[in-house]
Symmetry: D4
C-alpha cells in the first residue's frame, strides 16, 4: 500500500457522492488519495488536526469542497503551504453562487485555486490535481496528454454519428 | 480599569476606521470593548489564540468584520459558544455581496448573526451587542429604551424643519 | 408552566414547518418558547400588539422569519429593545435572495441579526438564541459547550465509517 | 390654501433632494402635496401616526421612498387603503437592488406599485400619481395628454439638431 | 352588461392561468374587466390597436403581464395616459429577474407601477387597481377597508389554531 | 444536394435537442444547414479545423451554442469574418447567467450577436440567421414578411378564443 | 450622396457620444449610416414612423442602443424584417445588467442580436453590421479580413514592446 | 540567464499594471517568468503559437488574466497539459462578475484554477504558482513556509500598534 498524494476533503458526508467524482479521476490516472470528512465550522479541531498532518502523510495537493458560506478550502489554505483546490458545492437556496464567492474571493496571501460549481467542477478539481502532479512525473504527463487526445477523439466520435443525420442539405 | 465585554475583531488594519463605528456605539452606552486585528486566513494561529482566550478575558459578545471570502466571523463562531455578530465589509469588486454571503450562509450548527453591509451594518453590530448585554442590565436596557426614543425624536426634529418648507399646498 | 423566553414569529402559517426547526433546537436546550403567526403587512395591528406585549410576557429574544419583501423582523426590531434574529425564508421566484436583502440591509439604528436562508438558517436562529440566553445561564452555557463537542464528535463518527472505504491507496 | 392630494414620504432627510423630483412633477401639474419624513424603522410611532391621518388629511396617493431594507412603502401600504407608490432609493453597497426587491416583492394582499431605482423612478412616481388623479379630473387628464405630446416633441426637437450632423452619407 | 373598467393584458395565452388571479380579485370587488392577449413583440399592430381603444372602451386601469424582456407594460404605458400596472411573469431561466428589471426600470416620463414577480404580484396588481378605482367610489373604498380587515382576521384565525399547539411552555 | 448556408455548432451532443430548434426554423424557411459538434475546450483542434473550412464550405452565418464558461461562439468569432450568433445554453447551477455573460461580453473587435438563454434564444438564433440571409434574397425576405404576419395572426387567433370567455363584464 | 445602409438608433441624445463609436467603425469601412434619436417610450409615434420607413430608405441593418428597461431594439425588431443589433447601454444603478436582460431575453419569434454592455459592445455592434454587409460585398469582406489581421498585428506590436521589459529571467 | 518557469499572460497591455503583481510575487520567490500579451479573441493565432511553445520553453505553470467574456485562461487550458491559473480582471460594467463566471465555470475535462477578482486575485495567482513549484523544490517550500510565517507576524505587528489604542476599557 502506497501513500496517498491527494487529499479530497469535504464538510459533510452528504457531499460524498459528488466529491467522489474527483476520486474517480485520480483513480483513472493511478493516483492514490485519501477521503476526509471534516467541517471548518462543525469540527474545527478535527480540521486543524487534519491540516497539520498533511505534509507528514505525504499529501501534495488538497481538494476541498463545501457549500454555502464555504470556508473549508480557505481554512485549509490558511494553514498549509500545499496548493489547495476549492470546489464550490451547489447550495439549496442560491445554487452555489454563495459557495463560489466564499471559496474564490480569498484575500491576498492565501490562494485557493477554484473550479466551477458542482459536478464539472469536482471532476476538474481531480484533473487539476493530476496536472500539478504531472509536472514531476513523465508517466502522468504522458497519460494526461493521452487524456486530452481522448477528449478530442470523444467529441469527434459522437459528432460523426450525429452530425450527418442532423444536417439538412 | 474594567474588563471589556465586547470584542471587535477585524481581518485587517485597513478595516479599522469602519469597524470603530461599532466601538463608538459601545462607548456611548458605557460598554468597554477590545479591538483586535487578526485574519482568519493570514494569521490563523493568532486567530485561534484570540478565540481561545475570549471567555477567560470576560468577553460576552464578539463583533467580527471581514470582506470578500469573509470567513472571520464563521471561524470564530466555530470555536466559541459566545454569540458572534458578523459584519460584511464592502469588497472592491463585488460591493460586499461576496462578504455578505460568506458571512451569513453558515451551515446549521454554527450561527453568525449578520448585519448589513458597511457602515450602517457596523453601527448596528454595536447596537445588537448592546441589546444582548441589556438583557441582564437594567441600566443598559433603560439606556437603550432612551436611545430608541431619541431615534424617534431625531427623525421628528429633522422632519419639522424640512417638511413645512418642502410641502406645496 | 413557565414563561417562554423566546418568541418564534412568522408571517404565515405556511412557514410553520420550516420555522419549527428553531423550536426543536430550543426544546433540546430546555428553553420555553411561544410560536406566533402575524404578518407585518397583512396584520399590522396584530403585529403591533404582539410586539408591545413582548417584554411583559417575559420574552428575551425574538426569532422572526419571512420571505420576499421580508419586513417582519425589521418591523419588530423597530418597536422593541430586545435582540431580534431574522430568518430569510426562501421565496418562490428569487430563492430567498430578496428575503435575505430585505432582512439584513437594515438602516443604522435598528439591527436585525440575520442568519442564512432556509432550514440551516432557522436552526441557527434557534442556536443563536440559545447562545444569547447562555450568557446568563451556566446550565445553558454548559449544554452549549456539550452541543459544540457533539458537533465535532458527530463529524468524526460519520467520517470514520466513510473515510476508510472511500480512500484509495 | 388647499389640501394636498399626494403625500411624498421618505425615511431620511438625506433623501429629500432626490424625492423632491416627484414634488416638481406634481407642481408642474398643479397638484398640491405634503412632504413627510418618517422612518419605518427609526420612527415607527411617527410613521403610524402619519398613516392614520392620511385619509383625514385628504391624501389620495402616497409616494414612499426608502433604501436598503426598504420597508417604508410596505409599512404604509399595510395600514392604508390608498394606493402606495414605492421608490427604491439607491443604496451605498448594492446600488438599490436591495431597495428594489424590498419594495416590490410584497406578499399578496398588500400591493406597492413600484417604480425604477433612483431619479428616473422618483419622477415616474410623481407622474404615476398624476395619472391616477387624472382618472377623475378632465383638466389633469388633458394636461397629461399634452405632457405626453411634449415628450414626443422633445425627442423630435433634440433629434433634428443632432441627427443630420451625426449621420454620414 | 356594463363596461369593463380594467384591462388585463398578457403577451401569451400561456400566461392566462396566472394572470386570471388578478381577474378573480376584480370579480370579488364587483369590478368588470376585459382580458386581452397581445404581444408587444409578436403582435405590435394588435397591441397598438388595443392601446388606442382603451379610453374609448372606458378602461381606467391597465394590468399588463409579461416575462423575459418584458416590454408589454412599458409599450402600453408609452401610448396611453392611463395608469399601467406591470406584472413580471417568472421566466424559465432567470426566474423573473429579467422580467422584473425589464418592467420596472422605465425611463423618466413613462411610469409603470410594478408589482412582485409571479402569483403574489398578479393578485396585488388586481388589488392595486381596486385601490385606484376606490379613490372615486365609496362602495369600493368601504369594500377595500373590509378586505384589509379580513386580512387581519384571516391571520388571527389561522394563528389561533396553530400558535397554542406549536408553543412549548 | 445544395450547400448549407448556416452552420449550427454546439459544444456537446447533449445540446442537440435544444439546438435543433434553430435547424427547424431554417428548414421552415428552406435554408440548408450543417450541424456540427465541437467543443472550444475539449476539441480545440477540431474547432479550429471546423472554423477554417467555413468559407470554403459556403457557410454564411454561424449559430454557436454553449453553456457555463461558454466560449464556443467567441472562439469561432475570433477566427472568422462571418457573423456569429451566440446562444447561451442554460447551465445546471447558474441557470445560464454564466452562459449569457460568457457569450455576450466580448471585447471590442470580436462581436458575437447574442440571443436569449435557452429555447426561445435558439429559435431566435435561427430567425436572425434567416433575417441576415433575407437581405440578399427576395424570396426569403417575402417569406419572413409572411412569417411576421403569421405571428400577428397567431396571437389574434389564440386571443379570440380566450378573450371573450375570460373577460367578465 | 449615397443611401445609408445602417441605421444607428438611440433613445436619448445623451447616448450619442457612446453610440457614435459604432458610426466610427462604419466610417472606417466606408459604410454610410444614419443616426436617429427616438425613444420607444417617450416618442412611440416617432419610433413607429422611423421603423416603417427603414426599408424604403434602403437600410439593411439596424443598431439600437438603450439603457434600463431597454425596449428600443425589441420594439424595432417587432416591426421590421431587418436584422436588429441591440446595444445595452450602462444604466446608473444596475450598471447595465437591466439593459442587457431587457435587450437580450426576447421571446421566440423576434430576435435581437445583442452585443456587450457599453463601449466595447457599441464598437462590436458596428463590426457585426459590417460582417453582415460583407456577406454580399467582396470589398467589405476583404476589408474585414484585413481588419482582423490588424487586430492580430496590433496585439503583436504592443506585446513586443512590453513583453521583453516585463519578463524577468 | 535561466529559463522562465511561469508564464504570465494577459489579453491586453492595459492589464499589465495589474498582472505585474503576480510577477512581483514570483520575483520575491526568485522564480523567473515571462510576460506575454495575447488575446484569445483578437490574436487567436498568436495565442495558439504561444500555447504550443509552452512546454518547449520550459514553462510549468501558466497564469492567465482576462476580463469580460474572459476566455484566455480557458483557451490556453484547452491546448496544454500544464496547470492554468485564471485571474478574473474587473470589467467596466459588471465589476468582474462576468470575468469570474467566464473563467471558472469550465466544462468537465478542462480545469482552470481560478483566483479572486482583481489585485488580491493576481497576487494569489503568483502565490499559487509558487505553491505548485514548491512541491518539487525544498528551497521554495522553505521560503513559502517563511512567507506564511511573515503573514502571521505582519498581522501581529500591525495589530499591536493599533489594538491597545483602539480598545476602550
Amino acid at each position: 500500500v502506497g501513500k496517498p498524494a491527494v487529499s479530497i476533503v469535504m464538510g459533510s458526508d452528504s457531499d460524498l457522492t459528488l466529491m467522489e467524482e474527483a476520486g474517480k479521476v485520480l483513480q483513472d490516472f493511478g493516483i492514490q488519495y485519501e477521503v476526509v470528512i471534516t467541517s471548518a465550522h462543525r469540527s474545527p479541531k478535527r480540521t486543524h488536526l487534519f491540516v497539520s498532518g498533511l505534509i507528514r502523510r505525504g499529501i501534495r495537493v488538497v481538494i476541498a469542497g463545501a457549500g454555502g458560506a464555504a470556508h473549508l478550502a480557505g481554512t485549509i489554505a490558511a494553514q498549509t503551504i500545499l496548493p489547495v483546490i476549492g470546489v464550490p458545492i451547489p447550495s439549496s437556496s442560491l445554487n452555489g453562487l454563495d459557495s463560489l464567492l466564499s471559496t474564490v474571493q480569498m484575500p491576498s496571501g492565501v490562494p485557493v485555486g477554484t473550479v466551477g460549481i458542482g459536478k464539472a467542477g469536482v471532476i476538474n478539481a481531480g484533473l487539476l490535481a493530476v496536472q500539478i502532479l504531472a509536472l514531476t512525473s513523465s508517466t502522468l504527463s504522458a497519460k494526461f496528454t493521452r487524456y486530452k487526445q481522448s477528449l478530442e477523439k470523444g467529441v469527434a466520435l459522437k459528432a460523426q454519428k450525429i452530425e450527418r443525420k442532423a444536417s439538412k442539405r
